[in-house]
Symmetry: C2
Subunit: 404 residues, 2 copies
């Protein structure tokens, strides 16, 4: 498997674009994105489990219920959530895109992200659609990635190339993250495209399995968004024999998908609202996978640990504390904890108790941008990884006055 460039346009037959159409006041920020496949593509999706759901969620679910789609339209700046006319607006967005592209409105995935409860108008979208569609190109992934950003400071794109059935396939994605990120059986906005041929059923199976090891182990702030969605489009233009059952090809596809989703997870975590550090928590030696996942996620969700990481403070007691309240059953007297970064690795806790360690060395390790928190529960063979970020002044600043 090789990392390649191109994001959602890396796969054959996909073009994308992103423009400023006026939903946001700031003219320098793109606020509307379009992704288009030259042929109808198998489509799978997972969505937020929040009971309060953005209107686009219902519209997209209905549209892709036949397993196919051909385009994705997404705006930022307004979540189109808790509005009386939300479904009408979401259907309207889809229709504007379908009309321009000459495709069936039911083949359009619709998504929105931004402020909840702000009335939304179709006018800027109607006004911008010509420019948006005219600019669709295989170079447009970055513009689309910018168009879906909210408080993100960097666009998030990734793509890989892999082989299926002797044919070269590509899979790539873009994501927006930053705040209100604590996916629960679904996630923030992620759009993934591939030219691999795979049936809608197997595509959904691959996606639903994947998120348990990727987006569901990611948290920025413990708040599960109302508008989370991950969509994969597979147009089959790579020419491989269609994957329609499990087996070697399906496993190869899953691995490629995982490469894309885990990369996006790390990008989202590292660019969490106000974040200065990406935290990756690796748990091994767990009795079973659920324990490993519960422990790793509890650690990256702890406000106290997140603040300690911001301060580069090797306060391992907070790691133990978060394991203890996680709900996972494990012998706390067997837990080892290391902190690791590009500057080295340091053992701070052995068998659930503190060990002598150099605070100076620990500080040096924790001052880096990417910190691995490595836990061995010494109670079995299962392992898991979870991703998060530090808690900083800027998180408070960004969210103290988000709407203005």
């Amino acid at each position: 498997m090789t990392r390649i460039s191109g994001g959602v346009c890396a796969a054959k037959g996909f073009t994308a674009n992103g423009i400023h159409c006026g939903i946001r006041k700031n003219r320098t920020k793109r606020d509307l994105a379009l992704i288009y496949s030259q042929t109808r593509a198998a489509c799978a999706g997972v969505y937020t489990q929040n009971l309060v759901k953005g209107a686009p969620i219902a519209v997209t679910k209905a549209h892709i219920s036949d397993g196919f789609a051909q385009a994705i339209i997404c705006n930022s700046g307004n979540a189109n959530t808790c509005n009386f006319d939300g479904v009408e607006i979401a259907e309207g967005m889809g229709a504007i895109a379908a009309n321009k592209l000459g495709i069936d409105p039911r083949d359009v995935v619709v998504a929105s992200t931004g402020v909840i409860g702000l009335p939304m108008s179709l006018e800027p979208i109607q006004n911008g659609i010509d420019e948006l569609a005219a600019g669709l190109s295989t170079e447009g992934s970055g513009f689309a990635a910018e168009g879906i950003m909210t408080t993100d400071t960097r666009k998030k794109e990734v793509a890989v190339e892999f082989e299926l059935d002797g044919k070269t396939c590509r899979i790539g994605g873009i994501a927006k993250g930053s705040g209100m990120i604590h996916p629960n059986m679904a996630t923030m906005l992620v759009f993934i495209t591939t030219d691999a041929a795979i049936s809608p059923t197997m595509l959904q199976k691959a996606l639903s399995g994947d998120i348990r090891d990727s987006f569901n182990l990611l948290s920025i702030d413990g708040d599960t968004s109302t508008n989370d969605m991950v969509i994969v489009l597979a147009n089959g233009l790579a020419g491989n024999r269609e994957i329609s059952t499990g087996g070697e090809d399906f496993e190869a596809f899953r691995q490629a998908l995982s490469q894309v989703t885990v990369s996006l997870c790390r990008m989202i975590a590292g660019d969490g609202e106000g974040a200065t550090k990406l935290l990756e928590c690796s748990v091994s030696g767990a009795a079973d996978e659920i324990t490993a996942k519960t422990v790793s996620k509890s650690i990256i969700c702890s406000s106290l640990l997140k603040a300690a990481m911001f301060g580069a403070d090797a306060n391992w007691g907070r790691v133990l504390c978060a394991i203890g309240y996680s709900g996972a059953k494990t012998d706390v007297n067997k837990i080892d904890v290391c902190f690791k970064s590009a500057k080295g690795e340091i053992l701070v806790c052995k068998d659930g108790h503190g060990v002598d360690f150099s605070e100076e060395k620990a500080k040096e390790i924790l001052l880096e941008d990417e910190i691995d928190i490595i836990i061995n529960l010494n109670s079995g063979e299962a392992s898991a990884k979870a991703w998060g970020c530090d808690l900083t002044y800027d998180y408070v600043k960004i969210n103290g006055d988000y709407r203005t």
Copy 2:
């Protein structure tokens, strides 16, 4: 029921004191507290459900397993948690107090709060016990309340007077809170004393019931501490007929206890680490009590809402979002949301959708120190209240470098 002064010394026969003995380096901060009853008292306790438990938890549980105790010794500055000799040190603290007071070591409640995983010495406690015991007085509640503080900025004391069986009784308490506060069937450190006569069984029943409506509906940062404990001592010196079954007296006692615990909850929430505001979330119209509690707690735990409250931003979408992911089943299209403070009340969401409101008036209301978030689910008769605080720059500052 009347509010009175005196804290843990308001009830007959109780004395207390707090001193600086040297566990903390800062000489101006008291770090050791003692509460003493002139007669053995019925005793009840609830403890953290964190699997990682401070050594004093095990020692105290064993000591009060017979339902009685006569003194409480508690230090701040060191949690005596995750230390190999933790139980030995906690037993040692109890023995030092018992020896000085001339009571059975098994009648001493032992508690610690502070940094996890820092080796602890008995030396400062041994050196300070003479001064600590000599200073025991009915005026000493405030000193004891200061002795158990960690990052608290204010001591927390309350007491009330009530009648049982024609006799005047008193019940009062002190608490420490501030950080790592997200009680789960137990709580931070709270010590309550009463001169009411009540059997150990009924005292435990009253306490275990009470915390479901008080401390278990409190959260500062979502982190359940390793050292949480609430202890009640009842020495019976008020002379009422001992409460040994349910009935009118038991209900009166429960009401008085609730007055004390809810007051302490509000004090702990309002003085959460870095907090500038006390948040009280009142949920009514719920189908059942569990729904009301789940919803109210989810709201006061939302990092996004807490940051919005810090910024006095009426971002009610975050309230809806937190209800939606709370896990409670409720019709989101029936939810009403108001913000209220000393400056007035404002409806911001009706039937799950935004209403026109004056942002200026909302800002004026939200700039106050105590904010009520009032939710009506319009789906039943049950209600609940939960307490929390805003998320501020100072929370990050305090926890970015707690150990130094």
